[in-house]
């Protein structure tokens, strides 16, 4: 009679042994498949991350560019005080949405500002129109920057005295700080053109004492500048020194036979200029 218990145990060991290779193959296949799926899933994720990274980079770069551009434009337009600080803050926030709409706002502002500028300077109207035709409301930041550069190049024509200087400096002429800058420059080189410019600006601002002083300085450096004598006389009138102004003009007219000085003298004596 056979020992069935022993045979069953041997059979059980045999079955376990026979299943081991299958189990190994099965586990290997699962492992390989899981690795493949893991690898396949990872690739798109990496791409997504890269895309995000790029987008963020682009956004940051764009926002930085926009901020830079905005700062420049805000400096340029500061004399008109039309750009509010809140608007500047809002623009980068919009940039976070990965849209270039802030640039369009900027464009509108640019167009508005340039228009007002050219309205006060009729001579440059044709130039402005030509440039405005070249401006396209495209979302790309690069053309916008180019446009801005073009606008800046126009502005040096505004003041012939500062033709060779940068446009940013010209836009600062109407502020007291900017006049101080010109004063500093004048102190360095004693250029009568700069002192005359300072005298004119102070006169426009209503500071007649300073306009008188700078006109006097200009005349001491060069006594043949007609505009300097006229500003000098006008400042004297404004300082209630009408007699002195008439006397100075008469002496200058005798010296130079200036028509503009003669006209001003007539206006002062007739009481048209006060």
């Amino acid at each position: 009679m056979l020992n069935t218990n022993d045979l069953e145990q041997r059979w059980l060991r045999y079955k376990i042994k026979s299943y081991i290779p299958h189990a190994i193959i099965f586990l290997s296949v699962i492992l390989i498949l899981s690795l493949i799926s893991l690898f396949m899933n990872k690739e798109p994720k990496i791409k997504e991350v890269d895309n995000n990274f790029n987008i963020h980079n682009v956004l940051n770069e764009e926002s930085q560019n926009k901020e830079f551009i905005l700062k420049e434009t805000s400096i340029k337009k500061s004399h008109k005080q039309e750009i509010k600080p809140q608007e500047r803050v809002e623009i980068p926030k919009q940039n976070n949405k990965m849209t270039i709409s802030p640039s369009l706002d900027f464009m509108r502002q640019m167009q508005e500002n340039t228009q007002t500028y050219f309205e006060t300077n009729p001579e440059h109207k044709p130039v402005k129109k030509e440039k405005s035709h070249g401006v396209k409301p495209t979302p790309k930041p690069t053309p916008l920057a180019k446009k801005e550069e073009k606008v800046f190049y126009e502005e040096p024509q505004e003041e012939q005295i500062e033709k060779k200087s940068k446009s940013i400096k010209i836009t600062r002429q109407n502020t007291h700080d900017d006049i101080k800058e010109v004063v500093t420059r004048f102190n360095k080189n004693n250029n009568p053109a700069l002192s005359l410019f300072i005298a004119k600006k102070y006169y426009e601002l209503g500071d007649y004492h300073k306009s008188y002083n700078y006109a006097l300085i200009t005349n001491e450096i060069n006594n043949d500048i007609e505009s300097s004598w006229i500003i000098f006389a006008k400042s004297l009138v404004k300082l209630n020194e009408k007699a002195m102004a008439i006397k100075v003009l008469k002496q200058y007219i005798q010296h130079s036979n200036s028509n503009r000085a003669s006209l001003l003298l007539d206006k002062i004596t007739s009481g048209k200029f006060k």
């Binding site: 009679m1 056979l2 069935t4 045979l7 041997r10 059979w11 060991r13 045999y14 079955k15």
Partner: protein, 270 residues
């Protein structure tokens, strides 16, 4: 099923060579018919070869059983390795001469020349690979006289192939190879064998799946199949006696028991 069915089924697969247990299979029948036809031809020798357990001995027994009624045929299932004893046995069977002393090949050949036989006797030699080269050479010379016809069986191994080449290459006119059974042949073999012993219930237990497993384990070898099935039914008897037969499905052969039988018989190394 009761115990007696398992016991009868077990006995069916006892590893014994009996012509009555010969199972008629299509391919085997064709081979057997060609062997019978070869015997009728004027051939000096017929070689029957194949791997162990392919049914060579059964073939030889069946041939002896069928031919013995019609013509003079002698079968030597156990090889007679001593030359004198072999020749004395031949002299006794063919010429009815009883030699008391030794006999040499020359004396036997004189006896063959002097004798006048009505028909050519057929000598069936099983396990011929066990005969010495010298004796095989003398068997060849004896067959050349055409006084005696030999049908010999050989195991098909490299060594036996060499013997066949050396001694029979130019003399054998007919060689028949026996092969292992296919899966379908094995199923027929098992079921026919069981039904021959009236074990119909156990014959029905063998379906294609279980026979495929048996074929996988035995490679279609008849001897291994007999051993395996003998052990299988022995296991069924053990389970029956241990009251564990309820755990088994008796409608079909348990694959577990087939594998356990294979472990017991050494077909599975566990």
């Amino acid at each position: 099923m009761n115990l007696s069915i398992y016991q009868n089924s077990k006995n069916v697969f006892l590893d014994i060579v009996n012509a009555k247990d010969y199972i008629q299979l299509d391919r085997v029948s064709t081979i057997y018919q060609s062997l019978k036809n070869s015997i009728k031809k004027p051939l000096k020798m017929v070689l029957l070869y194949g791997k162990p357990g392919t049914g060579k001995s059964m073939f030889l027994n069946k041939l002896y059983h069928d031919l013995s009624t019609t013509q003079e045929v002698f079968i030597y299932q156990t090889p007679i390795l001593d030359e004198s004893e072999f020749l004395k046995t031949l002299a006794h069977d063919i010429f009815r001469v009883q030699y008391r002393g030794d006999i040499n090949f020359t004396q036997f050949m004189k006896m063959v020349d002097l004798s006048k036989l009505n028909s050519t006797p057929i000598i069936l030699l099983d396990e011929a690979q066990l005969y010495s080269n010298q004796l095989m050479e003398k068997i060849r010379l004896l067959s050349d006289t055409r006084s005696v016809k030999f049908v010999i069986t050989l195991h098909k191994t490299e060594k036996e192939d060499l013997i066949a080449k050396e001694h029979f290459q130019t003399r054998i006119w007919e060689s028949i190879e026996l092969e292992n059974a296919s899966s379908s042949e094995l199923k027929i073999y098992i079921q026919k064998k069981l039904m021959k012993a009236n074990c119909f219930d156990s014959a029905n237990m063998f379906n294609a799946k279980s026979v495929n497993l048996i074929h996988k384990l035995t490679n279609g070898n008849y001897r291994d199949t007999n051993k395996l099935l003998y052990t299988l039914f022995d296991l069924y008897i053990s389970y029956y006696q241990n009251q564990n037969i309820k755990d088994l499905n008796t409608n079909q052969v348990s694959h577990k028991l087939i594998e356990m039988s294979a472990i017991h018989t050494g077909l599975i190394d566990a």
